[in-house]
Amino acid sequence: MAAAVSRRSPLASLLPLIAKRAASAVLTLFLVSMVVFAISALLPGDAAQESLGQSATPEQIAALRHEMGLDRPGYVRYAEWLTDMLSGDPGQSYVANQPVADIISQRLPNTLMLASVTAVLSVFAALAIGISSAINRGSRLDRALNIVTLSLVAIPEFLVATLGVLVFSVKLLLLPSIALVSEDATWSETLRSMALPVFSLGCIVVAQMARMIRAAVADQLDRSYVEMARLKGVPFSCIITFHVMPNALGPIINAVALSLSYLMGGALIVETIFNFPGLASLMVNAVTSRDIPLLQSCAMIFCATYLVLMLVADVVAILANPRLRA
């Protein structure tokens, strides 16, 4: 009874803590927007030059620049851009001549699909590897898994991807080497063409997560409460499920969030190799064609995803750890 009563009031006391954490995430996102704006201003050439082409005279460019408001000081343009972004209008693409929001809404589902399929598969794999090697610490299984994950973390993903293409597409002729994602493709076609990208991305993410999960669980297994529970005669599986896992949840969620944030912006190389029509390869195009509004929106999506994942991880850690509620 006492536990039930005291459970409600700490939850209320959690709200300010979570609100504080969320406020700091919003502040960071604001700072990120400044950095993104400043970095994109570094790119040589601007929209006026881009749309008039090489043959334009400096006077024409200056006139168009004035018309587009590009000759105003940076902070004025930043303020305008920020208010536009906040009101949900990321502007007009210079190159494609269509709203940035439309272009992104074509690509975003692909990236989210790739990221979520990889995330679901790799979280389960990483949990299985991490927990089983932490439980069997020092055993042959643990050492073998340690070497495997260590190597996978250290191998660049373009190697995994090219080797995957060599084995599965060139030698075995099992899977396509280019990811064709279109609306009229059937489910099995989409799955087949996504197999190699998911595999390449998954390798590195699983290895990263598994190592951090192993460390978190192993750290808990060293605590004295585990020894206490063992001496009491609690079955080992109960110790893991009811004693160790709740305590390791915070660090595990953190590891998962950190690795998953990689699936958005980090997919750059995999998307390029497999010609996958995702957000990262869209951003590469935006950089090469100097499409600043598109570039800024993509960059903000990547940074915001990272910050949201970190925020969720921290909130879950606060909820899972009774000591942080005080």
Binding site: L27, I39, I147, I155, F158, L159, L166, V170, T272, A280
Partner: protein, 274 residues
């Protein structure tokens, strides 16, 4: 002087010794490249492209008929030295700023932490992509990008270390003695952080190698006529379908370098069970 080093090496587990061997091997190759490369780096030595290994060309020829072994030896020089330089810069800057944050505390700490949090949330490859597009790829720029990208990560770790140290008695005593911040950081705190910092340096090194070879693979990194291990994989990609040595060998070179460094870090990591 040499004895403690030998003792540390002997205390390493087998995997750590293999890692140390691989890292030393690649550093030696990189340092001695002009002496050991059998041919000139751009010389065409074979009329056939993607020729298999032979007594004359140990690793065969590449897509233009150049010696793959020579290309790898020179490529490893760029990879190893760029990565080592960038990792050293990242750790030096990150740790100095972290110690400043820990010693000053208060607003300084708040502002620095917020700034580093901002930088860490920008994906490294995206940042590098924009920088290369803005300034054009050059060795100096790649060094700066890699150093800048991995500074916040090192800052987080060394700030956590420094925060623990600042609260300890000997630092408080040094403060009470009226020592300057610079002295406290260099003489009192740094020697007590050096071990975990070395492990972090190794980790940053691996990250930089992965970032740089990834960039080179995309054609954004080291530009021809220079080459690093990543650009060797890229330029020979047409040999992929035939499984040519010219693409397998640089791939293996990158993997042995990074896996070796990781094995070594894993073995010397503080708290690692031997």
């Amino acid at each position: 002087m040499m004895k403690p080093i030998f003792r540390t090496v002997r205390a390493l587990p087998l995997s750590g010794r293999i890692g140390l061997g691989l890292v030393l091997f690649w550093i030696a190759i990189a340092a001695l490249a002009p002496l050991i490369a059998p041919y000139g780096v751009g010389t065409f030595v074979d009329e056939e492209v993607f020729s298999p290994a032979s007594a004359r060309l140990w690793l065969g020829s590449d897509y233009l008929g150049r010696d793959v072994l020579t290309r790898i030896i020179w490529g490893s020089r760029n990879t190893v030295f760029l990565a080592l330089g960038a990792a050293l810069m990242a750790v030096a800057i990150g740790t100095s700023v972290a110690m400043l944050a820990a010693i000053r505390g208060g607003w300084t700490d708040q502002i620095l932490c917020r700034a580093m949090d901002t930088l860490i949330s920008i994906p490294s490859k995206i940042f590098a992509l924009v920088m290369v597009a803005a300034f054009g790829s050059s060795m100096t720029l790649l060094l700066a990008i890699a150093a800048f990208t991995y500074t916040p990560g090192n800052f987080r770790i060394s700030r956590a270390l420094a925060m623990n140290l600042v609260a300890l008695d000997f630092v408080q005593v040094a403060r009470a003695r009226g020592e300057r911040s610079f002295h406290i950081a260099l003489r009192e705190m740094l020697p007590n952080m050096i071990h975990p910092l070395l492990a972090d340096l190794g980790l940053r090194f691996v990250f930089v190698v992965l970032l740089l070879s990834g960039l080179s693979f995309l054609g954004l990194g080291v530009q021809p006529p220079h080459a690093d291990l990543g650009s060797l994989v890229r330029e020979n990609i047409s040999g992929l379908s035939s499984g040519a040595l010219a693409i397998v060998a640089p791939a293996v070179a990158i993997a042995t370098l990074t896996v070796g460094a990781n094995l070594l870090i894993d073995a010397i990591k503080p708290g690692a069970k031997t």
